[in-house]
């Protein structure tokens, strides 16, 4: 799934790296606990979270997360956006809840970081 399709599906606003919307996303992980992201996400996945501090970007960087969607219109501050831009991690913000965000993406074929088959 292309990041621009995710943007359109979630009616999301792009906060960083607009130029990367052609990026391909195959897996997603959602959490507000960054240690869970470090433990259970896989490389090159999309992170869906309600946390907006700079640690989210640091976590995404070390866990090689490709892009981040902030849910429920939660917006990071300018330092966080700048850090994401510097680390080349696209940021999107949607008004949907975490459940709805995951449901919409799942319905369109995006799958989790687990090996479960549906």
């Amino acid at each position: 799934m292309l990041l621009k399709d995710i943007r359109d599906l979630l009616d999301a606003v792009v906060l960083a790296r607009e130029q990367d919307m052609g990026m391909e996303i195959e897996r997603a992980y959602c959490a507000d606990l960054m240690s869970d992201v470090l433990a259970f996400s896989i490389s090159n996945s999309l992170l869906i979270t309600g946390l907006t501090n700079t640690q989210v970007i640091r976590t995404a960087e070390v866990a090689t997360i490709k892009a981040i969607v902030f849910i429920q219109n939660k917006r990071p501050d300018i330092q966080t956006i700048s850090l994401a831009d510097e680390k080349k991690i696209p940021l999107l913000v949607t008004n949907f809840s975490m459940f709805d965000t995951c449901g919409l993406l799942f319905e369109k074929g995006l799958r989790s970081c687990s090996d479960l088959e549906f």
């Binding site: 507000d32 606990l33 960054m34 240690s35 869970d36 470090l38 433990a39 490389s43 946390l51 501090n53 700079t54 640690q55 989210v56 640091r58 976590t59 960087e61 070390v62 866990a63 090689t64 330092q79 680390k87």
Partner: protein, 143 residues
Amino acid sequence: MPCCEGVFFLTGKDFKNAGAASSSLKGILEDIGIPAATIRRVAIAAFEAEMNTIIYSVAGMMNYVITPEMIKIRIQDMGPGIPDIDLAMKEGYSTAPDYIREMGFGSGMGLPNIKRNADALTVNSILGEGTTVEFIINLTPED
């Protein structure tokens, strides 16, 4: 591959720069040409250890040594020490205050996450003095 080593200094409660050392280390490993999957393991383990230092201690340092055989990271902190290391190694056990949890950490996954990514891990702690976490990630000849 050349051997190299270095050190990063960490300041307790400096959440603005928390993760910067691990980020720099990741960049060094990328420059050397270490495979991405190995870099991810090192970066995750280093980041967890760095966050522990930032959260719990006054200050600390992260030393790294890279040889053709392995990457060795040692994080020493001037913190309160860990009363029961076996308990701290259990997933979900945490003594972190609420404001740390609100930042997305302190869920009791730090040391377990380091162990999960490392080929060898040692934790030494003295109450009232500090904790030293040392881990090794092996490199194969193909790396």
